[in-house]
């Protein structure tokens, strides 16, 4: 069945998942549902200890079994040790057919591949997968389906009961013996625990895993003791230098600076740039450079940002320090400056649900004026792909891309026209992860294209004469004139994963890759 972004979704996938095809951004607006609640084992006796001596004991006490679903967060990014630690124990116990529902998975989890191959893990739900797991899924090694969903989409799936987490293991930089968890402090300091709030609220069993047990009460807590069943102390939950890197040196790459400048010009010359505007940006070189140059113009014009939301890095924290931002609403800390900044007033920790869940009574992304995002590919319908590489292999993560893109009044996607030898602006993206209706402006090193649906923005930029304007088709043609038009990736028939829309519908499917064969003359 063809969906709203023109992708053919096989009937058997709709049947297997019970899902509908994507039917537009606002298809589920105003609908109602009842939230799924967790099973709660009450603790009334003051003698009850929540401490367990090992992950093994935690798994046994939580009733680990074949076919269970485990929850994890990705605040430790490439420095995460929790997922592998837990899964190794699950593997040792001979448990099979596990579904992993993580907010994201990356290179830190390459060690899971043999467990995918031997049937320990048969389903994966994540914002995306980088590294060897992505390759394994694309090669068809996962027996079930990989579901790639946005950060907001994960909250929706859990709260609607589509995904029921049996046990969630929450890596906590500090925790007390009764389960009060904080993202700040300890030796694996990650600043915030936003992605695991939902696990605390909805998982049937919650295990806090920490390498820094602190005296009770560890308050104010990100995850409250009232939600935690067990506390397990281990030697190490993360590798600090891989959790939060030192602040990236400002880029000196002129191509990135050029795109940053175009992006800044787009922002300051569109109607939402006024005192109190709301903004989100990523951590790419161009995004960071653009935030810095935006700060300069804000100072000149006496304009302040009302709030910035999402993942934080030094650039945005600097703007807060300079008094140019009212509030930072933080879901993730990318560098040590952001981890430090969390402790300051007006730098608030928020849940991923408050940030981006499409199925609550209004998330922060809905209040965004601008979001600046990146993409692997953008097509002439403004559809973006941030998950599947142009070689067809799963290699990235949606993160909050579809959430912020839909929410913001002006969504700007930055991408160099050609990445390596691959045209980033193309006729048809390999996989649609964010629909074109969410994307307003594409900024490249060869010029800026405005979605024809946004004539208002196009008029504003034309009048300002601030950036070289092109149509998206012109950008695609320039890209193809440089690289040639690539032959489509050759996929097999088997669907190995689905790209879920924010509202749980099917945006696209990812098929198993097969080795490229040249057409015979």
């Amino acid at each position: 069945m063809l969906n709203k972004v023109g992708r053919e979704i096989p009937e058997e996938i709709l049947k297997q998942t019970g899902k509908e095809v994507f039917q537009g951004n606002y298809y589920k607006d105003n609908t109602e549902f009842k939230k799924q609640g967790p099973i709660t084992k009450v603790v009334m006796n003051h003698d009850t200890s929540k401490m367990v001596s090992s992950i093994h004991e935690a798994l046994v006490k939580c009733g680990a079994h074949d076919g269970m679903t485990l929850g994890f967060h990705h605040h430790f990014r490439d420095g995460d040790l929790v997922v592998n630690m837990v899964m190794q124990e699950v593997h040792n116990m001979g448990i099979k057919d596990v579904t992993i529902c993580a907010s994201s998975l990356g290179k830190a989890h390459d060690a899971l591949v043999p467990m995918i191959e031997d049937g320990t893990i048969t389903n994966i739900q994540s914002s995306g997968v980088r590294g060897k797991i992505g390759e394994a899924i694309s090669q068809g090694k996962l027996k079930g389906l990989a579901i790639m969903r946005s950060h907001g989409g994960r909250i929706r799936a859990i709260q609607t009961g589509e995904t029921v987490i049996d046990i969630s293991f929450i890596g906590a930089p500090t925790c007390d013996d009764y389960g009060n968890c904080k993202g700040v402090g300890g030796k694996s300091d990650c600043g915030v625990l936003s992605y695991s709030f939902v696990d605390g609220n909805h998982a049937n069993k919650v295990v806090a895993v920490t390498d820094c047990l602190v005296p009770f009460p560890n308050y104010p807590a990100d995850i409250n003791m009232t939600k935690v069943d067990y506390v397990c102390v281990v030697d190490q939950i993360g590798v600090p230098e891989k959790i939060a890197t030192g602040a990236a040196k400002p880029t000196t790459d002129v191509r990135k600076l050029m795109m940053a400048d175009y992006c800044t010009q787009v922002v300051v010359n569109t109607p939402y740039f006024k005192d109190g505007f709301a903004y989100q940006t990523g951590v790419g070189g161009a995004s960071i450079a653009s935030a810095a140059s935006l700060g300069k113009i804000m100072k000149e014009r006496g304009i302040k940002m009302g709030f910035a939301v999402g993942g934080m890095s030094k650039g945005m924290c600097d703007l807060l320090d300079e008094g140019l931002v009212g509030k930072l609403l933080d879901t993730q800390d990318f560098d040590t400056s952001a981890v430090e900044s969390v402790k300051r007033p007006n730098h608030h920790r928020i849940s991923a649900g408050a940030y981006a869940n499409p199925f609550n009574k209004g998330a922060f992304v809905n209040k965004l004026d601008y979001v600046v995002l990146a993409a692997l590919e953008v097509d002439v319908d403004f559809n973006c792909n941030v998950v599947v590489g142009s070689d067809g292999v799963i290699t990235g993560a949606q993160g909050g891309h579809p959430d912020a893109a839909q929410g913001a009044k002006c969504t700007i996607v930055i991408s160099p026209l050609v990445q390596g030898r691959i045209p980033a602006i193309c006729s048809k993206v390999t996989t649609v992860t964010t629909p074109g209706e969410s994307v307003d402006i594409v900024v490249t090193d060869y010029g800026v294209a405005v979605n024809p649906a946004r004539q208002d923005l196009l008029d504003a930029l034309k009048e300002a004469k601030c950036v070289p304007l092109r149509t998206i088709e012109e950008l695609r043609d320039i890209a193809y004139s440089i690289t040639g038009e690539p032959e489509p990736v050759q996929f097999g028939d088997r669907v190995v994963g689905i790209i879920e829309g924010r509202d749980g519908t099917v945006m696209d499917v990812v098929r198993q890759v097969k080795p490229f064969t040249f057409a015979e003359d």
């Binding site: 000196t252 002129v254 191509r255 050029m258 050609v418 090193d445 004139s481 440089i482």
Partner: protein, 300 residues
């Protein structure tokens, strides 16, 4: 023979290593006036043929969107330069840069090879220009001879690193060690009616020092500067682009001189400054530079 490109605007000439496809695939987006595709020092000895191959195909396949494509060949004392010229001319380059030029004879030898290559590959005679890099005390002393060696030669460029070694000193950042060479070269170039380009500034972390360096060579009369990174382009173009007040004044001077000449008046004042015919060429040059830099909106 008069190639119209001989006098084109060349404020910036950006060095690019032909061995690196990522560098030569689309440098035009940074809008330098010229790029200098290097087959010489930047290319490892064992990679010379690969770099040439890459150069040829880049010249053939890539639309450099009006940016001048200069190819720096290997030294005349190497076994590579003749094949470099064949390759560059066959690919369609605009100019050949001769390294370590020390005499008019060096220019003649290269010119012969260029003529032969133009014939061999069916290019119009005179379509490929030549420039000469002066990199030694001898080269600097022979500057005028070199400038006048060929009608194809559009300019000379200083190569500061090799030159200071030859002079038994080094680059200091103050410009003292380059003073004599710079003066001599720019005087020779003007005497011969060709362009003159300054050496590279290699400290990319010192953009203030770079700006001062460019301001100095601009005042000395150089037409432009060799650069090693796109970050340097904006500064050079900023310094070399006539300011609006200078353009307006030059416009008045040209118009007044034309007007007064018709009336038989030789000396008069513009904005309180005494002006006579001696100011005419300078004012014309400002207008031409403003036009070439894309900032002139007047009607001259």
């Amino acid at each position: 023979m008069s190639n119209p490109n001989k006098k084109r605007l060349r404020r910036t000439m950006m060095f690019l290593n032909c061995q690196k496809p990522g560098l030569i695939k689309d440098p035009y987006i940074y809008k330098p006036d010229s790029i200098m595709l290097d087959l010489e020092d930047a290319v490892a000895e064992k990679e010379k043929d690969a770099a040439r191959y890459s150069l040829f195909h880049a010249l053939r396949e890539i639309d450099y969107r009006g940016v001048e494509r200069v190819v720096r060949i290997n030294g005349l004392d190497s076994p590579y330069w003749r094949e470099d010229i064949r390759c560059a001319v066959a690919g369609g380059c605009d100019s050949i840069r001769i390294p370590k030029t020390e005499s008019a004879q060096d220019v003649h030898v290269v010119e012969e090879a260029v003529i032969a290559a133009e014939k061999e590959f069916g290019r119009e005679e005179g379509s490929v220009l030549i420039m000469a890099a002066l990199e030694s005390a001898r080269g600097i002393m022979k500057a005028l001879d070199i400038c006048e060696a060929s009608d194809r030669l559009f300019g000379i460029a200083l190569s500061g690193g090799d030159y200071t070694k030859d002079l038994q000193t080094h680059i200091t950042g103050t410009g003292i060690e380059l003073m004599g060479a710079r003066q001599n070269m720019v005087i020779a170039a003007r005497a011969a009616g060709v362009q003159c380009f300054d050496t590279v500034y290699t400290d990319l972390d010192d953009m203030d020092g770079f700006r001062k360096d460019v301001e100095a060579i601009h005042l000395m009369g150089f037409d432009g500067k060799s650069i090693i990174n796109p970050r340097q382009i904006e500064i050079v173009h900023d310094i070399y682009t006539p300011k609006q007040k200078d353009i307006i004044f030059a416009e008045k001077v040209v118009k007044e001189i034309d007007d007064k000449k018709a009336k038989g008046i030789g000396v008069f004042t513009v904005d309180g400054k005494m002006i006579d015919i001696a100011f005419y060429d300078g004012a014309k040059r400002t207008i031409e530079l403003a036009k070439a830099s894309g900032v002139y909106e007047g009607d001259l």
